[in-house]
Amino acid sequence: MTAISEAIDRHHFSLAQYFICLKGIVWREALRFIHQRERFVSALVRPLVWLFIFAAGFRQVLGVSIIPPYETYVLYEVYITPGLIAMIQLFNGMQSSLTMVYDRETGGMRTLLVSPFPRWWLLASKLLAGTLVSVLQAYAFLLIAWLWEIEAPPLGYLALLPALLLSGFMLGALGMLISSLIKQLENFAGVMNFVIFPMFFASSALYPLRRVKESSPLLYYICQANPFTHATELIRFALYAQVAWVSLAVVVGCTIVFLFGAILAYDPARGFLARRNNPGG
């Protein structure tokens, strides 16, 4: 009987158990990643198309003058590389977050949610797992870019890691928040048109904001207010082993707000899923 009553009353988890749970979620994402190589390849193809075709085409049209963190004139493909890394994370974050929201009623997500750990911990762990996948994708992209002679200082590759973790987390949390709140964004095409493209184009990913300001001050302010601009700049400076302090502050702040909002929106009592239609049966 003692064994049963112990089993019945055991529900407070130690810190070590929280980490076992986190590790398990990350490990499973890693296994899935290994087994779905096509997903990995297709996630790489998109930025490579931009790099090899788009950037090569614009190379002669657009030269980028000396702006921090660059110390010399840089080729256009060098300029857009950080933006393309941020794009990898944007796609990855939106895709995995959408899956988390819309697959909620299928087995995999249910298995996760029926865990006795607090839901915020489960969701944060899942976001972290998705972020780590995007970090791997980003480094794979950088490796190919390096073969294309787009090189950053060695220390930059190391300094990039915390920046990628932070920006990946922010974009994943944003994806979850948006897809939990806005019912109309039911599919990936909607998210592409209304979230990914506007965020990507209204940012410093493809052109320095100074140039944007010359043509449209309004657009410049929109770009400045776009968290994706700050994710891009955080990554750009980190790649040259520097810190973009304002961008860092914006990304940290946005991560906290988005994460908090996403957990609330995902909550069964508050989120829109509570109002969604019946699962059948």
């Binding site: 049963i4 089993a7 076992i20 995999g108 006795p116 049966g281």
Partner: protein
């Protein structure tokens, strides 16, 4: 909690629970209990509200009216305590088919905070219980549907829950696999004292010693031992009782609508 109190606490207690999707009422004042060590069949046609009830018990949806307790722990206010005593086999597949049986179970162990050394022992035990010990290294995608079901049951038992929920666990199985799973889960309740809630639309899955809950269009029409439910309805057997109960309910609905 003292042992004598445990013996009296129901494994699952659903108390006046209602749920609606917009204007449509999915559950209307549902109350039922699953006694410890009992095998309770939740009988209802498709659309009766079984899956909604499962979604509420597993906290996928918030409980907006009524209460659900698992071994006395309220699902709404003490979800951690409640969910740690609960094992669930969902209707939709919850295993990752790309990875091995063992990797799936390790993941589940982590979701319950079980360290890998202990998880290894527990996995060996549960696989043995479902007679799948020799398949632990196999990729889940290579198993038959019946074998996957057994692995899902093993998964649900891994953290040693005292209450097991199964949502239409025999869907898609052949007659033999169905009988095997049913036998196996019955043994869990009689031999190991696990309270079982078995949701199904197949009346012949209930047998004479079970408890049964008849759920129809979101309402509990009858609840008790099979013999009591049959006796109370005036039917000859459970099938007859089910038809009578649901027929009367439909008739009443029709009259109310006039």
């Amino acid at each position: 909690m003292k042992p004598f109190e445990i013996a009296q606490t129901p494994a699952l207690e659903i108390d006046h629970v209602s749920h609606r999707y917009g204007a449509r009422v999915a559950l209307n004042d549902v109350s039922l209990t699953v006694r410890q060590s009992s095998f309770t069949v939740l009988l209802g046609l498709n659309g009766a509200g079984k899956s909604t009830l499962f979604s509420l018990i597993t906290r996928l949806y918030a409980i907006r009216s009524g209460r659900i307790r698992i071994f006395g722990h309220d699902v709404g206010s003490e979800p951690g305590a409640a969910l740690s005593k609960l094992g669930v086999v969902f209707q939709s597949r919850a295993l990752d088919i790309d990875i091995s049986v063992r990797q799936n179970l390790m993941y589940h162990a982590a979701l319950h905070g079980i360290a890998s050394s202990r998880a290894r022992d527990l996995i060996a035990q549960v696989l043995d219980r479902v007679a799948m010990a020799d398949r632990s290294q196999d990729r889940v995608g290579n198993l038959s549907i019946g074998q996957m079901r057994r692995i899902e049951i093993a998964r649900a038992l891994l953290h040693q829950p005292r209450l097991l929920l199964l949502d239409e666990p025999t869907v898609g199985l052949d007659i033999k696999a169905r009988a095997d799973i049913l036998d196996h889960v019955r043994r869990l309740s009689t031999v190991e004292g696990i309270g079982v809630l078995w949701a199904t639309h197949l009346i012949d899955e209930a047998s004479s010693g079970d408890d049964v809950v008849v759920l129809h269009k979101g309402k509990v029409l009858s609840h008790g031992a099979v013999s009591d439910v049959v006796g109370g309805s005036g039917g000859a057997d459970l099938r007859d009782a089910f038809n009578r109960l649901t027929g009367i309910a439909d008739q009443n609905d029709l009259e109310a609508a006039r």
